[in-house]
């Protein structure tokens, strides 16, 4: 048996000094990054202090929430949820075939693979707010452009996650099924889909949860739902109505988050 020679005292002190210098350089780099970001965003902490009065004034004018107008909230709330549901379902339906083509282990051809990856990447790279502006211009104001925007953006997010799920699945049952003489489509519906279904459902539910939050923001550019009403109320300085919308928004987001987590836990 042989042992590696232990480093000498001089070697250890050099290594220690080098480690310390490296840490100092990294700390300095971190400080520089923080300073440059503060400069670029024109950070003015003093404005936060003077702005406290303005914020306190808005909070005062927004309380108590105007519960007498609760009837105005139901329809936009339903619209918000349905924009997300439509957007997620549309995204799932369009993302699944793209993901199959974009998964390296089951793709029918390398050319289709790169094409599908390109479509997925583009749908993901363009923010949902930009898609909403595009569809508002194309089909007009209302919840429909919001739902379309979420569908297209979800293709990007879901397509990538679905493809990764397919790529990481255990291929042994799939190979075994192929060798029984089953057709390609049968291998897919009897082998691939049952193997990954819980993961796909979990990802889709998580996406629904995200889309509900996104659908609130899309309303600000005219794509319907509570966001649209919230923006209108703010523009008209109806702050008590704004606080009512915010409370309903909070309830919807928390309820969707809990429900999604509950179902995902059952699927796991």
């Amino acid at each position: 048996m042989s042992f590696a020679a232990a480093p000498s005292l001089a070697e250890r002190s050099w290594a220690g000094a080098f480690g310390l210098a490296l840490r100092l350089v990294m700390l300095l780099a971190l400080v520089l990054i923080v300073i440059q970001s503060a400069v670029v965003v024109h950070a003015r902490p003093q404005d936060l202090i003077t702005g406290v009065y303005g914020m306190a004034d808005i909070v005062r004018r927004a309380t108590p929430p105007d519960f007498a107008k609760i009837d105005l909230v139901w329809w936009p709330a339903l619209e918000t949820v349905d924009i997300a549901v439509f957007g997620t379902l549309g995204g799932v339906v369009l993302a699944l075939p793209l993901a199959i083509i974009a998964a390296a282990n089951v793709t029918p051809s390398r050319y289709f693979y790169y094409a599908a990856r390109g479509v997925i990447g583009f749908a993901r790279a363009v923010p949902d707010l930009v898609w909403a502006l595009f569809f508002v211009t194309a089909v007009g104001l209302g919840p429909f452009p919001g739902a379309l925007a979420l569908s297209v953006h979800s293709i990007g997010m879901l397509g990538r996650l679905f493809a990764e799920t397919i790529e990481h699945m255990d291929m042994a049952p799939i190979d075994a099924l192929s060798l029984t003489g089953a057709r390609r489509v049968q291998v897919f519906t009897h082998g691939v889909i049952p193997s990954i279904l819980p993961s796909l459902a979990g990802i889709s539910l998580y996406r629904l949860d995200e889309n509900i939050r996104s659908s609130l923001v899309l309303g600000f550019v005219g794509a319907g739902g509570i966001g649209f009403e919230l923006f209108s109320a703010m523009s008209l300085f109806q702050y008590r109505l704004v606080s009512l919308y915010l409370i309903v928004t909070f309830v919807i987001v928390i309820a969707a988050e809990r429900l999604s987590a509950l179902i995902r836990a059952r699927l796991a």
Binding site: A176, A182, H190, P194
Partner: protein, 247 residues
């Protein structure tokens, strides 16, 4: 019946995995293949199933030569060739019965099976195959909940659902305890002798080969070292088979 004639397989990196390989497995016969790691056993099975395209030679399954086939004709030919893997390779989230019935999918076409459905007749037949391997009571259970030995028996039932003429097994008892391994080997021998299947089984357990095989084929460096009835196989020949690996 399975007949392999002058089979050769050279990998793209230049390694010759099989050379001038000739083998016949008759219906009703259980043939065990022994050999060290890297000797070419798994390559042989992969060539026979046509997961690999052999460089040379013929693979006759009855009257059909699998070697030049591809596409739909290969799929059709594979219907009479079933394979059991070292790990059962079941779809864990589906029921045991559904896993068995999927062995019959290749005989069916149409929307119902394309959409994930299984014909009622195949479900009934699958129950019969499960009964044959002694697991009918577990038909409704999820495949993921089975023990290694049970899963391997379900894989055999799935192979039976295929109604094959030839059954290939790649180290089917490698991950099983001795009792479960004995069960699987008895089942394979029963399928060969009583159901008249041609069974070709790759093993590492020499004693199982002596106990259950009708014939034992030894592979060394991609070539046949011996091909003898198990009752005539000298221990020294088997010892030499593995010695070459150590050297």
């Amino acid at each position: 019946m399975l007949r392999v004639c002058r089979l050769a397989m050279r990998y793209p990196n230049g390694k010759l995995a099989l050379a001038d390989f000739n083998l016949t497995v008759a219906a009703g016969e259980l043939v065990v293949v022994l050999g060290g790691n890297g000797s070419g056993k798994t390559t042989l099975l992969r060539c026979i199933t046509r997961m690999l395209r052999p460089s040379e030679g013929e693979i006759w399954l009855g009257e059909v030569n699998l070697a030049p086939l591809s596409g739909e004709r290969l799929r059709q030919a594979r219907l009479s060739l079933a394979m059991i893997w070292q790990h059962a390779s079941l779809v864990g989230r589906r029921s045991v019965l559904a896993n068995v019935a999927t062995g019959a999918l290749g005989r069916h076409r149409g929307l119902w099976t394309a959409l994930g459905g299984l014909p009622a007749a195949e479900r009934r037949a699958a129950y019969g195959h499960l009964d044959e391997v002694g697991l009918a009571a577990l038909a409704g259970q999820r495949a993921a909940t089975l023990s290694g030995g049970q899963a391997q028996r379900v894989a055999i039932a799935r192979a039976l659902a295929q109604r094959p003429q030839v059954l290939l097994a790649d180290e089917p008892v490698a991950s099983l305890d001795p009792e479960a391994a004995g069960d699987i080997m008895r089942l394979l021998r029963h399928l060969a002798h009583d159901d008249n299947l041609a069974v070709l089984c790759v093993l590492h357990q020499v004693e199982l080969a002596y106990t259950y095989a009708d014939r034992v084929v030894g592979i060394r460096d991609g070539r046949i070292a011996f091909d003898l009835p198990s009752c005539e196989l000298p221990r020294e020949a088997v010892r030499r088979l593995y010695l070459s690996e150590a050297a």
